[in-house]
Amino acid sequence: MTADEARNVIIQAMREVAPEVDLGSVPPEADLREELDIDSMDFLNFIVGLHEKTGIDVPEEDYEHFATLQGAIDYVVRRSGAAA
């Protein structure tokens, strides 16, 4: 999966959780939880959505990679096994 593909799938998964959020306008290094005002339940639902779309099972110890959009993109690219 390329970085663009990862970004798109992350945005899709997040929109399902919080339809009004706009990841496209969030700086890549901004704190996602703070910018998007999401809580633990939103985050878990996002991880579930991501899993459904990509098959990637994000273990809890890897949640920290999703602190920023860029971190999430990097993680999904890496876990999908393709070069960015």
Binding site: S25, S40, M41, L44, E60
Partner: protein, 501 residues
């Protein structure tokens, strides 16, 4: 043939707009079935029908604004024809079992011993199972079938204190469905009616949603959100939309990507910009909450306790458990906290119930109110029914469902009406300790802060452990600090044995 009319869905409601019909002529409907979505000044809400029958005719069209009591539809009643209008507001949704989503069905009645009792030794020898509420609350774990409207109307009684409170809060008690004995309207019902607005305030169709980031950007750029056309899902306004609107020369009060069919009336501002409407709704809801909290602080002699809990065992167990679970079935630690609270109630039953008319009414069932923040800043506290008798999986399912519906305007009045104790968890916001304000007529609220690693000494050894501060705000008319301390200690003890939760 019976009339199905616009119900009163709470304080100050004079009219409602039919957003969407969920049934059509010829459809068979059952009592308790959600048949339409209605928008009021303060809330979007689903409305139920209170009889079995067949929809004969939809009188109101989608988009029509109908006064309370106004005709919405005609229903061919099952069996004998009824002429009594359906005027009962859906104060509870006990027949939700008839709906499509099984999760939304109220849990079956179970007055039996709470599962949690196994871990507790009642401090005063009086377990909830030995007690019965003096006036048995009508909305116990068994959601009593809603009284037939005409029956309820005949026997509706309003307690003196409820009537007084109704006057204070501007609620017409005659439009409130009573949950007391024989349908009596109690203070709790009035409060519920007054707070129902925020419960369902999340915007839905017809009203653009705005992300916090987009709202912030609009504020920075001076863009009127009411003039922005949303391009997000369901017309949600995104930051990009705001940016586009701001980029249009001299058009900060105009739509960004202007739809072709919109008339060009540049100098004609809308009668009521979206931002103003949203602000008014937010202010109205906050006023209702403020009134309730003011009354709480005025009438309830709060006392506050704090207790730091070592969460290492619970978190370790949860981590191992979640590793074995498919992603969709993972548990949040907050569910363990909820379960621990519900399970601790039997040891100190005086934290669970209502204080009304000068007396405490303990409940045997734990309907756990859960504070849920809405994206627009609102706050609702729907209740997980009979939490003490639910497994962690069931609590997780219920919590997920409640949060999702709270944020999409799909809560039912029943879920807002019968909490017996509330839990609020502000850990996600980085809060370390919560000093809660009790929701009248409840008598206790438990707060949890953030899970924080702290140095922890045990048996002469110091280590770093995940900890959480549990707090209790309780009503001194009902319990005292000693008993409150036992309650928090019971929560702690339960969290040390997560496998038993």
């Amino acid at each position: 043939m019976a009339d199905f009319v616009m119900p009163s869905l709470g304080a100050d409601m004079e009219e409602g707009t039919v957003i969407r019909w969920l049934v059509k002529p010829g459809d068979e409907v059952r009592r308790g079935q959600i048949v339409a979505e209605v928008e009021t000044e303060k809330a979007d809400m689903e409305i139920e029908i209170f009889q079995d029958g067949v929809i004969d005719e939809l009188i109101a069209n989608e988009g029509d604004t109908v006064p309370v009591g106004g005709l919405l539809a005609r229903v061919q009643a099952a069996g004998e024809a009824r002429a009594v209008p359906e005027q009962e507001p859906p104060a509870e949704a006990p027949t939700a079992a008839e709906e499509a989503t099984p999760e939304e069905a109220p849990q079956p009645a179970d007055e039996g011993e709470p599962a949690a009792a196994k871990a507790e030794t009642p401090g005063d020898g009086a377990t909830p199972t030995e007690r019965e509420p003096a006036p048995k609350p009508a909305v116990e774990a068994t959601p009593a079938p809603p009284a037939k409207p005409q029956e309820a109307a005949e026997r509706r009684r309003v307690t003196p204190s409820a009537r007084k409170l109704a006057a204070e809060l501007g609620v017409d008690p005659d439009t409130v469905r009573g949950t007391g004995v024989d349908g009596a309207v109690r203070r709790a019902d009035i409060e519920q009616a007054a707070t129902r607005g925020p419960a369902v305030a999340a915007p839905t169709e017809g009203r653009a949603r705005v992300s916090p980031y987009a709202r912030k950007k609009a504020s920075e750029l001076g863009v009127d959100l009411g003039q922005v056309t949303g391009s997000g899902p369901g017309g949600a306004i995104t930051a990009d939309d705001v940016q586009r609107a701001a980029a249009v020369p001299g058009a900060k009060a105009k739509p960004g990507p202007a739809p072709a069919d919109k008339p060009a009336e540049p100098q004609e501002p809308p009668a009521e910009p979206e931002t103003d409407r949203a602000a008014a709704r937010t202010a109205a809801r906050q006023r209702v909450i403020a009134n309730l909290m003011e009354r709480s602080k005025r009438e309830i002699p709060h006392y506050y306790l704090g207790h730091t809990v070592d969460l290492s065992r619970a978190m370790q167990w949860l981590q191992e458990e979640n590793q074995q679970r498919p992603v969709p079935e993972r548990l949040l630690y907050s569910v363990l906290l909820m379960k621990a609270v519900a399970a601790a109630v039997p040891s100190v039953p005086e934290v669970n119930g209502n204080y009304e008319d000068g007396a405490f009414q303990p409940w045997t069932t734990v309907n756990l109110g859960v504070a849920v923040s809405l994206r627009d800043g609102g706050l609702v506290t729907p209740a997980v029914q009979d939490a003490g008798n639910k497994s962690l999986e069931e609590l997780m399912r219920d919590l997920r469902d409640l949060v999702q519906r709270a944020r999409t305007g799909k809560l039912r009045a029943a879920e807002m009406s019968n909490a017996t104790i509330t839990v609020t968890n502000l850990g996600d916001q980085g809060v370390e300790s919560v000093q809660g304000v009790i929701y009248p007529p409840q008598v206790a609220i438990v707060g949890f802060g953030k899970v924080i690693e702290r140095p922890w000494a045990e048996q002469g050894m110091v280590g770093v452990r995940p900890t959480i501060t549990a707090t209790l705000a309780a009503d001194h008319r009902v319990s005292n600090g000693h008993r409150g301390g036992l309650f928090l200690a019971a929560i702690d003890r339960l969290l040390q044995e997560p496998t038993k939760l």
